[in-house]
């Protein structure tokens, strides 16, 4: 029989420490839906999503009941629409509307894939898609968009970076009435993964199969509690404790992923080994860093503690799952993390420190509220800096910033739900205009002479 203390530990993790499955995401290929006529194309897209995902939510709920584990989100990711839009031409907004309708019909809260991969250049379809992003995010509720503007193999497309600065700004303006929420659904990537189950950056990569199930786990609260219980021990022991905890969390993800894949008759893709915070108290990545010994997240020592955390989560998780992928690592979305919000409010956490943190953890500058007067060029330069970190270090980085229209330092945005809310953060206004306006391609980095 099972060990009583193991049983009690698991129950405590779920009941008190917010352990949950953050998302079951079904990836659906839409490559076979491309048609020369946009209306026919949209009809096929809608039909395929509804056919493949019709049982997604009911199966998710059934697994939740069977195991007693909360599964917070059931979501869908699709082939980057930029590829489909290339064959059909026409008004791309129709795709956004078709996706939104399908997401609503299927009962999923987000659908990702209104995306374009333009790290080396842009096709007419991709250009049209990017131009339509502000309108698409303002006129739909559940569609998420992402654009990959760089990779370690191709370098960074500076023309696309410049364009994305303008698109982020325009998206904020078009959704200014609802706290600029459009920007919370738009991610700019470098080295975007093909199998990411997390929004807003999820899309179904072109190298993927027809349909897969990817699962993202969560559990910052569990890791924090384990570190707290350890008390005064060395950092080696802390790393070991995090590894063991990550193993347990990921095992649960693996169990749910395999079960979901069997019940839906869809191949199991990956488990994303992630620590995804929520605004709920006790579900914060920042609080883990503080438990490791920092007075407040954002002070000196933050990058080092985050590096330990991120590495240990992956080491524990890899052993626990047969297939891993996605964004795997600790997330640091400011507005979605109670500890980060607190640190940003008291001024301990700056944009520059967050940028340093992204060099050692998963993803990048995530859910950061910027002053409303931040120019498109400054946003583009923030994207370029972040993409450069990803490109040079062969890792995924991303930017999801929200220029708060009409607001400045001292004011806040509130999105509610998992997206949370947070204070406007300070930006360096020195002009990068000449650099951004040069355009062209930042060359890919050398693979040798690593110093």
């Amino acid at each position: 029989m099972l060990n009583v203390s193991d049983i009690l530990e698991t129950i405590k993790m779920i009941q008190q420490e917010n352990l949950d499955i953050r998302t079951i995401t079904m990836g659906i290929s839409l490559l076979d839906c491309a048609d020369g006529d946009i209306d026919r194309s949209c009809a096929k897209v809608y039909e395929k999503i509804c056919r493949k995902a019709k049982n997604l939510v009911t199966v998710g709920e059934a697994i939740e009941r069977k195991y007693g584990i909360p599964i917070i989100n059931k979501r869908i990711s699709v082939t980057p629409i930029g590829l489909i839009a290339g064959s059909s031409g026409g008004d791309v907004i129709k795709y956004a509307k078709a996706l939104d309708k399908a997401a609503t019909e299927m009962g999923v809260n987000f659908l990702g894939g209104y995306s374009a991969l333009v790290q080396k250049g842009m096709t007419a379809g991709e250009k049209a898609l990017i131009d339509s992003i502000p309108q698409a995010l303002a006129e739909t509720e559940r569609v998420c968009s992402s654009v990959n503007i760089g990779s370690s193999k191709a370098g960074i497309n500076l023309d696309a970076v410049k364009l994305m600065g303008q698109i982020v700004k325009k998206t904020a303006e078009l959704t200014a009435d609802s706290d600029c929420i459009g920007c919370a659904k738009l991610v700019v990537f470098c080295n975007a993964p093909d199998d990411n189950p997390f929004m807003a950056g999820a899309f179904h990569g072109v190298g993927e199969g027809d349909c897969v199930i990817n699962v993202g786990v969560s559990g910052p609260g569990v890791v924090r509690a384990a570190v707290e219980k350890a008390g005064d021990c060395t950092i080696s022991e802390i790393a070991d404790i995090i590894k063991k905890t990550a193993f347990k969390i990921t095992r649960m993800g693996q169990l749910v992923a395999v079960e979901a894949s069997e019940r839906l008759g869809v191949p199991f893709g990956i488990v994303d080994l992630s620590l995804a915070p929520t605004p709920a108290v006790g579900d914060s990545v920042a609080y883990i860093l503080e438990e490791m010994g920092l007075e407040v997240c954002g002070g000196h020592g933050t990058t080092a503690t985050l590096a330990i955390l991120n590495d240990a989560v992956k080491k524990g998780g890899v052993m626990a799952s047969s297939r891993v992928g996605g964004l795997s690592g600790a997330f640091i979305p400011v507005t979605e993390d109670a500890g980060m919000i607190k640190a940003a409010r008291c001024g301990a956490l700056s944009l520059e420190k967050l940028e340093a943190m992204t060099a050692v953890c998963s993803v990048g500058l995530d859910m950061i509220v910027l002053p409303g007067d931040t120019t498109a060029e400054i946003i583009a330069a923030i994207i370029a800096d972040e993409a450069a970190i990803g490109m040079v270090n062969f890792k995924t980085t991303a930017v999801r910033v929200i220029p708060a229209v009409g607001k400045s330092i001292g004011e806040e945005l509130t999105f509610g739900g998992l997206l949370g809310g947070g204070p406007v953060m300070k930006v360096n206004y020195a002009s990068p205009n000449r650099f951004i306006n040069r355009g062209g391609q930042i060359p890919a980095p050398l693979h040798s002479l690593k110093n």
């Binding site: 029989m1 049983i7 698991t10 009941q15 009941r65 007693g68 693996q254």
Partner: protein, 89 residues
């Protein structure tokens, strides 16, 4: 399929009887029981066969939870597979 019922709370007369009666009402067979009383805190872990309530597992878990609330205990029912996958390699 098998599930684990955990009962935690202040020790009172008849806890085991009430939990096992509810199991019997639902045609749930008890396979193994371990219990300990630390000072006046009662902790019981029961392994049960829930094949009979397979379709209505959530409803059975809910009944147990309600019983727990009535008796001032915390009763939790979870699928055995969770513990196996989490704590065994």
């Amino acid at each position: 399929m098998r599930a684990v019922i955990t009962v935690i709370g202040k020790d009172t007369v008849g806890i085991l009887a009430r939990v096992s009666a509810l199991c019997a009402d639902n045609d749930v067979n008890i396979l193994d029981v371990t219990q300990s009383v630390l000072q006046d805190m009662f902790a019981m872990v029961t392994l049960v066969d829930v094949a009979a309530v397979d379709d209505d597992f959530a409803a059975f878990a809910e009944q147990m939870k309600v019983l727990g609330e009535k008796e001032g205990l915390v009763i939790h029912v979870m699928h055995e597979e969770i513990f196996n996958s989490m704590h065994r390699i």
